[in-house]
């Protein structure tokens, strides 16, 4: 996005300029932010709105498996589920994507085929991001070459916390270049901040802007591998960031909370945050995703409940 980069050329001219820019962003009052998220959490979403929200949430899932024990069989099962989340009801929307490690991209791609489900790959020495830049870039290159539609990179939290913002910025820029394919297209880039490690809301706002000016297509809360992952307040804060960024630059950027969102009720609350913060333009899986695995089954059970009037049970959804 050369226009974005040039708009912030001054801010990224040096480490100190970038620090001044990021530290010049408005502060975040933690209590106020959390109170706003909690207040939006009291919205009561019923009947038609609930049905809409459940289908939308399903369509926004990056159905994820990121385990050392992942096998081709596991990934194939996941891919099948992404394409047909509820085999008993073909009207169920498919998920947005499956999200896997780079070495599973080819298998995933093969499974989802031309269903429309995308394949996202974590990369850049996920989840810790502790590797040399060329190793990270090779990781990204492998995933892209294997057909990944989207790359979920992690930022260097150590560099961020040490105040080396320019290093983080340049790394994102480099990864973005590595997302380019031979045919001139490129994989969409999600930038994971690991908000639980950034610790403060001020840091999350700074990281959001850092990611956005560096060219992220999505900003994403977390890896799912640390104690605190996506929360309503940190997602609300990132939604404010993409809203403000679009107002300032005209460029729309997606948001992906990941980790810890397990119930339909939670998912609907996140959609309320989207609706009332960034706005309806983000109510689309091109702009908002859930990084989740078990969430899908809960959404499916709720969907069945709405359709039949009966409460469903785990035996009526698939375990993949």
């Amino acid at each position: 996005m050369p226009t974005t980069a040039s708009a912030f050329a001054d801010a990224t001219a040096s480490d100190s300029a970038l620090r001044r820019f990021l530290h010049g962003l408005p502060g975040v009052d933690a209590v106020g932010l959390e109170a706003r998220a909690a207040a939006l959490g009291t919205r009561s979403i019923k009947t038609t709105a609930k049905a809409y929200a459940i289908d939308l949430a399903i369509s926004m899932i990056d159905l994820t498996t990121l385990e050392g024990a992942d096998t081709p069989g596991k990934v194939r099962a996941l891919g099948a589920k992404a394409v047909h989340p509820d085999p008993t009801d073909r009207t169920t929307p498919r998920t947005a994507a499956v999200c896997v490690y780079p070495d599973m991209v080819a298998t995933a791609k093969e499974t989802v085929g031309d269903s429309g489900v995308l394949v996202a790959s974590v990369a850049t020495a996920f989840p810790a991001g502790r590797a040399a830049l060329d190793v990270k870039l090779a990781d990204v290159g492998d995933a892209v070459a294997a057909g990944a539609d989207e790359i979920d990179m992690v930022i260097d939290r150590g560099a961020f916390l040490a105040g080396k913002y320019l290093k983080v910025y340049e790394e994102i820029r480099a990864v973005k270049v590595a997302c380019e394919r031979a045919d001139g297209t490129r994989a969409r880039l999600k930038v994971i901040f690991e908000t639980g490690e950034l610790s403060t809301y001020d840091n999350i706002r700074r990281a959001s802007w850092l990611g956005m000016i560096a060219g992220a297509d999505f900003i994403k809360t977390s890896t799912g591998k640390v104690g605190v992952n996506a929360t309503p307040p940190n997602t609300l804060l990132m939604l404010e960031a993409v809203r403000d960024f679009r107002l300032q630059t005209g460029v729309q950027i997606g948001v992906k909370p990941a980790g810890g969102i397990r119930t339909s009720k939670d998912a609907v609350k996140f959609l309320v945050l989207v609706n009332e913060t960034a706005g309806p333009d983000w109510l689309d899986n091109h702009w908002f995703r859930f990084g989740a695995s078990s969430l899908l089954n809960d959404l499916l059970m709720q969907r069945q409940k709405l359709a039949t009037g009966r409460y469903s049970g785990p035996d009526y959804v698939t375990v993949d």
Binding site: E34, T195, V228, P232
Partner: protein
């Protein structure tokens, strides 16, 4: 040459804005002793004198209220020091004014000096007894602090012309208010002399303004004055007190009704100290240290 030197009379003047003006009215009235002997002519204050006193008190308010409590304590203690040095003068004036013997008047003046010392010690303690942290049920730091009400009109007691006066005036200014005092109508001289002491006690001009004259005449415009915040009716009789209280309702002045005081030397308690205080409560979020400490 005669042994009897002709003494120099003192011209008693008002004390307003740190200066000693005559009454704007140009009028005086005769002040007599308890036995009916002429003592002096005191200024007969007009409503314009009252108005000027309020202007002076308002001007002084920000600075006085803004001083550290410690500093106000030092100033009040300085008043006691200055009085101690002029003890004999006040003993004579109180004896004349109230028809007391020298020894009884001496006890009254001593008590008045000690009262300044008592209130000098209160300035930096009142916030700790009248304020404090409130344990609200939420992530907020919440603190209540007393603040001075503003400009307070004080009708000094009519009988106890000095100890009574000090007992009602000192608590008003100890907390940072500024005062317009109407001296005892019949016995204003100790009050007017107190002005001279205050002027040499590091007390900023305008913090205390002393008017003498007809209490009811001076009090009426002050009770109705929109830039006066408080009213101590100590020196008003029942009828006047009610009339003034009704007038005071126009801008909701804080009113301290007259309460019978049998013995001005008794422990004054904190009642008068807290009568002209506002409580300000400030909230601020505390919250968690960061996003990772969130309870979500």
């Amino acid at each position: 040459m005669s042994d009897a030197r002709l003494s120099v009379f003192k011209t008693y003047k008002l004390y307003v804005g740190g200066k000693f003006p005559r009454s704007e009215s140009g009028r005086v009235y005769e002040v007599t002793s308890g036995k009916g002997e002429w003592l002096a002519n005191a200024p007969l204050s007009s409503r314009k004198d009252a108005r000027d006193a309020v202007v002076a008190a308002r001007k002084a308010f920000g600075g006085w209220a803004g001083k550290t409590a410690y500093n106000r304590g030092q100033v009040l203690y300085r008043v006691a020091e200055m009085l101690e040095g002029r003890r004999e003068q006040f003993v004579r004036e109180v004896a004349d004014a109230e028809g007391l013997s020298k020894s009884k008047a001496g006890a009254v003046v001593d008590a008045a000096i000690d009262r300044w010392v008592w209130y000098a010690g209160w300035t930096d303690k009142v916030a700790q007894i009248a304020g404090g942290a409130n344990p609200v049920a939420g992530p907020y730091f919440n603190l209540s602090s007393p603040e001075p009400t503003g400009v307070v009109t004080v009708l000094a007691p009519q009988e106890s012309s000095f100890l009574g006066l000090v007992s009602v005036l000192a608590p008003v200014i100890a907390t940072g208010n500024t005062a317009v005092v109407i001296a005892s109508e019949r016995s204003p001289l100790p009050a007017l002399s107190l002005g001279e002491v205050l002027a040499t006690s590091d007390l900023p001009g305008g913090v205390v303004n002393v008017l003498s004259g007809r209490t009811a005449e001076i009090a009426a415009p002050l009770a109705a004055h929109q830039d006066v915040n408080g009213l101590d009716l100590c020196g008003a009789d029942e009828v006047l007190a009610k009339e003034l209280q009704v007038a005071a309702a126009d801008n909701l002045k804080r009113v301290l009704r007259p309460q019978p005081v049998d013995d001005w030397t008794a422990d004054p308690g904190t009642h008068r100290l807290t009568a002209f205080l506002e409580t300000k409560t400030v909230w601020h979020p505390t919250g968690s240290l960061g996003a990772s400490g969130s309870s979500y």
